[in-house]
Amino acid sequence: MEWIRFGLTALLVLSGLVFCCIGVYGLFKFKYAANRMHAAAIVDTLGISLCMLGFAVSAPDLFSGLKILLVIVFWWLSSPVASHLLCRLEITTDEQRDEYMHVHMATLKREREEAEAAVYAAAGIDPDEIGNEAKEEQA
């Protein structure tokens, strides 16, 4: 029984460590802070939760195991908030942002235009005539 518990702990903790290593490797692989946040989220979710589950399986008593699980719950609630604020800091302070994000901005603009065209097509209106009708009414 003890050895089954030890095996479960070893499996969970070692897989958690692998995910931590992937996350930290991502910190060095990517070039921009927003990309790095993507990699860092692995450690904040899967890495910490697998390790903590492994520790909770063979905790010395019931309540310390439950407290370790509480750490996972707290971390899952707090980490998205922290990431959101960090992302807001990055977006606010980065003045060269458009230089490497402009592809996404262009895609966003095209998608918006396509969506507008689809709405006009569904309503059976030609978008070029909207302005003209208003002018005719004025005349």
Partner: protein
């Protein structure tokens, strides 16, 4: 091999790996070209430290260390929130001051 020795080996190995990861995060924090890279690395070091503190619950067999892990998680969260808020505020303040200076210079040029 006794089960205590097995636990000790597993936890010692995990502790060593986590230490190396924390050091790697520290290097990222020093290298990081932008302030958000540094805050991100600090957040990461906090996560790894929480895992290490929870690991000592098993290593030393003391239940109260779980409370310390919880408190450390809260502290680390608070630190990241404060740092990002403060640096956003500093940037906006500086921007505002620059704008005021530019406006003042423009008015002088007009006069």
């Amino acid at each position: 091999m006794s089960i205590d020795l097995a636990y000790k080996m597993l936890l010692g190995f995990a502790l060593g790996v986590l230490t190396l990861l924390a050091l790697a995060c520290l290097i990222r924090c020093i290298l990081g070209p932008r302030i958000s890279d540094r805050v991100l690395a600090i957040n990461q070091i906090g996560t790894i430290t929480v895992i290490m503190v929870a690991l000592t619950v098993l290593l030393l067999g003391e239940g109260y260390l779980a409370d310390i892990a919880l408190v450390y998680a809260m502290l680390s969260f608070l630190a990241v929130i404060l740092l990002s808020k403060v640096y956003t505020g500093i940037y906006q303040e500086r921007k505002h001051e620059e704008e005021l200076h530019r406006n003042a210079a423009g008015e002088e040029a007009d006069a």
